[in-house]
């Protein structure tokens, strides 16, 4: 339906992703070969190389880390000699029980929902691209943009824990220690950001064009 546009690839051009120099694609070279930008020397490719494979790899790693990030304790609070380990979800439940709904929602959205949605969105995008789906490419592109935009905010949780551990050092009264989940959570965030970056949104549109041709 968007077939009235011509793409650079269709016209035989390449755009440098760094200095945005437009140069022509060498006709005799195969897709497997690498080109470099004549101006800045950066690699040139009409689509991100192995985008789908790389995204899958990172996505898979993130999904694997997502499990321990939620199952293991995020923090261990020692208050008055009583140690208590909390996972992300037990923290959310604690805030719900104490009536702090807004905080519970923020933590739940930022730490549980957003990473999960990112994983799901990227998985959906990858599957749809692989199946060369032509279903609502514009919406899918929006989803991708959202994923990329929201990615850095997922680190919120790690930051909060970091600040708490640094601040709450009251000796025997209260101490907060980092749990192993923090590491896995950070890994999930980094890996999903990497996955989002390695995904080439232009692939969403390629399917429609191929059919058109």
């Amino acid at each position: 339906m968007m077939s009235s546009f011509m793409t650079a690839r269709q016209l035989g051009y390449l755009s440098c992703s760094v200095c945005h120099l437009l140069c022509s694609n060498c006709p005799e070279s195969g897709a497997e070969e690498r080109r470099r930008c004549p101006r800045c020397g950066a690699r040139l490719h009409s689509r991100k190389p192995d985008s789908i494979t790389r995204t899958w790899a990172l996505l898979l790693a993130a999904a694997l880390f997502y499990v321990p990030a939620n199952a293991l304790p995020m923090t261990t609070v020692t208050a008055l000699g009583k140690a208590q380990s909390d996972t992300i979800l037990s923290g959310v439940i604690y805030f719900i029980q104490t009536g702090s709904w807004p905080i519970a929602v923020v933590i739940f959205v930022a730490s549980v929902l957003v990473p999960l949605l990112k994983l799901l969105i990227l998985a959906c995008l990858l599957i749809s691209v692989q199946r060369r789906s032509r279903f609502r490419p514009r919406d899918r592109t929006r989803l991708y943009l959202l994923t990329e935009a929201v990615g850095r905010w997922s680190m919120l949780d790690v930051f909060v824990v970091t600040i708490l551990v640094g601040m709450v050092k009251l000796g025997t009264l209260a101490t907060i220690e980092v749990g192993p989940a923090a590491l896995f959570f950070a890994a999930v965030v980094v890996l999903t950001m990497g996955a989002a970056m390695s995904f080439d949104p232009r692939l969403i549109w390629d399917a429609g064009e191929e059919i058109h041709d």
């Binding site: 060498c26 070279s29 195969g30 070969e33 690498r34 040139l44 790389r54 790899a57 790693a61 890994a187």
Partner: protein
């Protein structure tokens, strides 16, 4: 890739991107999910490998227990966490599910006991103050090794003694509960050395059996003949020597407690009491340290008269020294002879009497009693208190008693000691025989004879003869008086003169015989000369005997 022929189509002078060969094709990025998978797998394996036993403990109440927060601790080390607290199927109990660490596997067996450690205050101590801040936790005592188990019934109270505590358990029996509270202290010479662990009524409902734990090293002082007594409360005694107040410690006044001590009764070596050795609990210290009776020294006494005033516990005395007590009083009516016999069972301590010398065939206590009975030992009821009429049993020697002997295997299996009637009974029987004899006396005849005699006497005293005799007696005495008077006035001065002469002649003799008198010294000299002469004569006689011819030839020259 399909559009490659359209290059250089629109824009001229476009620089051509150089092409470089790619070294290899499989993306290195797959290492990332691989590493993630490895880490994930490692976590899973670690989780499974470190997963310890999951146990269920039944409690009556879940006070202070929270799923996911309450810890299971052993020696204050976390070994697990409560995972769920739920109501049991009977809706009466609480099921506490806990997951323990793997290292706790060897700790848990069917003998393991669990309890909730909370702050507790008792009369003697405060426990678990730390749990006020940190909250309750589940404590455990591993107990003896046994079969593995996963379901336990939690204790409502923490056990007093946990496994591995050095010391020894003993069992104390009592007819009443006394101070056998769980946790009540056990004292040895006023040092706290143990606790009462538990108590229960025996199935027969007669005795209470308490388990007592004595800590090391004091358990070595519990011998087989050690006595335990109730030391709870205050022991106040008033007697002739004043007021005595006795208590083990202030805590026992409030919480009760028991004490033990050993009195060495015999020179035999003491034997250490083994685990779970059974002791009797005495009501107080005095009772405990009293002598006990060995069953060998039980006797049955048969009395025929009334035993009114004799009670169980009445003393058995040997000339005022208590040597035993009355254990039981029964009664027996013989239908064929219509006679009543009262068997009284006594326990004696012959050790209280020290025997000097040796008796024939004296080997054991039994033989000793046999010998004593043959020498006249008998039992007798005597009145101990005139006012109350209380009786006691006296053992005494009656050398004139009829011969008797100890009957072995008498009533109730005890040896039978012969008895003699009590003094009162004896007096009664003698009095009646005396009256019988008096009945038989010819009193009237005696009376008539007596009257005749008295009349004769009267006749003599009133006759004229007697008067004359008295008068002539008076005249004789007057004459006698006169004679004595003459004797005094005439004879006495002559006697005095004769005595003076005798004194002077005796003084002369004395001066002659004195040691410094000339006669004395001359006598001594004469005696010495006589001695010398006799010596010479002796020498001469010896010489003659040895050498008779020397009378003729003189002394020999050869020597």
């Amino acid at each position: 890739m399909t559009e490659s022929d359209r290059s250089n189509g629109g824009i001229p002078d476009m620089p051509v991107a150089p092409v470089r060969k790619r070294s290899f094709h499989i993306s290195l990025l797959w290492v990332v999910p691989l590493v993630a998978a490895l880490i994930g797998a490692w976590l899973v394996v670690k989780g499974i490998r470190e997963r310890g036993p999951r146990i269920t403990i039944t409690f009556k109440s879940a006070e202070g227990l929270e799923a996911g927060k309450t810890k299971v601790k052993y020696k204050d080390v976390d070994i697990g966490t409560v995972t769920a607290v739920e109501l049991g199927p009977d809706l009466q109990h609480v099921l506490v599910k806990a997951e323990l660490v793997k290292s706790a596997q060897g700790l848990i067996s069917e003998n393991t006991r669990f309890w909730v450690a909370r702050a507790r205050v008792s009369a003697t101590a405060i426990y678990g103050l730390g749990t006020v801040f940190s909250g309750a936790y589940i404590d455990l005592d591993p107990g003896k090794p046994g079969k593995p188990a996963r379901h336990f019934t939690g204790l409502e109270e923490p056990p007093i003694v946990t496994t591995g505590l050095p010391g020894r358990h003993f069992i104390v029996e009592s007819a009443r509960k006394e101070s056998l509270e769980v946790g009540a202290p056990v004292y040895f010479r006023q040092i706290r050395v143990g606790e009462v662990v538990s108590y229960r009524l025996r199935d027969d409902g007669r005795t209470i059996e308490a388990k007592v734990f004595v800590h090391a090293p004091y358990h070595r002082f519990v011998w087989k003949n050690t006595r335990f007594w109730d030391s709870g409360g205050i022991d106040l005694k008033v007697d002739a020597s004043g007021v005595h107040l006795y208590t083990e410690s202030l805590a026992t006044v409030l919480a009760g407690g028991i004490a033990f001590d050993t009195i060495q009764e015999s020179p035999e070596p003491l034997e250490e009491a083994p685990e779970d050795y059974v002791f009797r609990l005495f009501p107080n210290r005095e009772k405990a340290l009293e002598k006990t009776y060995s069953p060998d020294n039980y006797f049955v006494l048969l009395f025929e008269g009334s035993v009114r005033g004799l009670s169980v516990g009445a003393p058995v005395e040997f000339r005022g020294i208590p040597v035993g007590k009355v254990i039981d009083i029964r009664s027996e009516f013989n239908l064929s002879t219509n006679k009543v016999k009262i068997p009284v069972i006594i326990a004696t301590e012959p050790e209280r009497i020290s025997f000097v010398g040796t008796a024939p065939n004296r080997e054991s206590g039994k033989n000793l009693f046999e010998y004593l009975v043959s020498q006249g030992l008998r039992a007798q009821l005597r009145s101990g208190n005139v006012l109350t009429g209380q009786l006691y049993v006296a053992l005494d020697l009656f050398p004139n008693a009829q011969p008797a002997h100890v009957t072995h295997g008498g009533r109730y299996g005890y040896a039978e000691l012969p008895t003699v009637p009590s003094p009162l009974e004896e007096i009664g029987s003698k009095l009646s025989s005396l009256l019988d004899k008096m009945d038989r006396l010819p009193l009237e005849q005696i009376g008539a004879d007596l009257r005749d005699t008295l009349q004769g006497a009267k006749r003599i005293t009133t006759s004229q003869d007697l008067l004359n005799t008295v008068k002539s007696l008076e005249a004789a005495s007057k004459e006698m008086h006169l004679l004595l008077k003459t004797l005094r006035t005439q004879t006495t001065p002559e006697m005095d003169a004769a005595l003076g002469q005798a004194r002077t002649s005796l003084a002369a003799v004395e001066s002659l015989l004195r040691s410094d008198s000339p006669l004395h010294s001359r006598l001594i000299a004469a005696a010495e000369e006589f001695a010398a002469a006799s010596r010479t004569l002796k020498v001469l006689a010896e010489a003659l005997e040895r050498d008779p011819q020397s009378v003729l030839f003189g002394k020999g020259q050869e020597e």
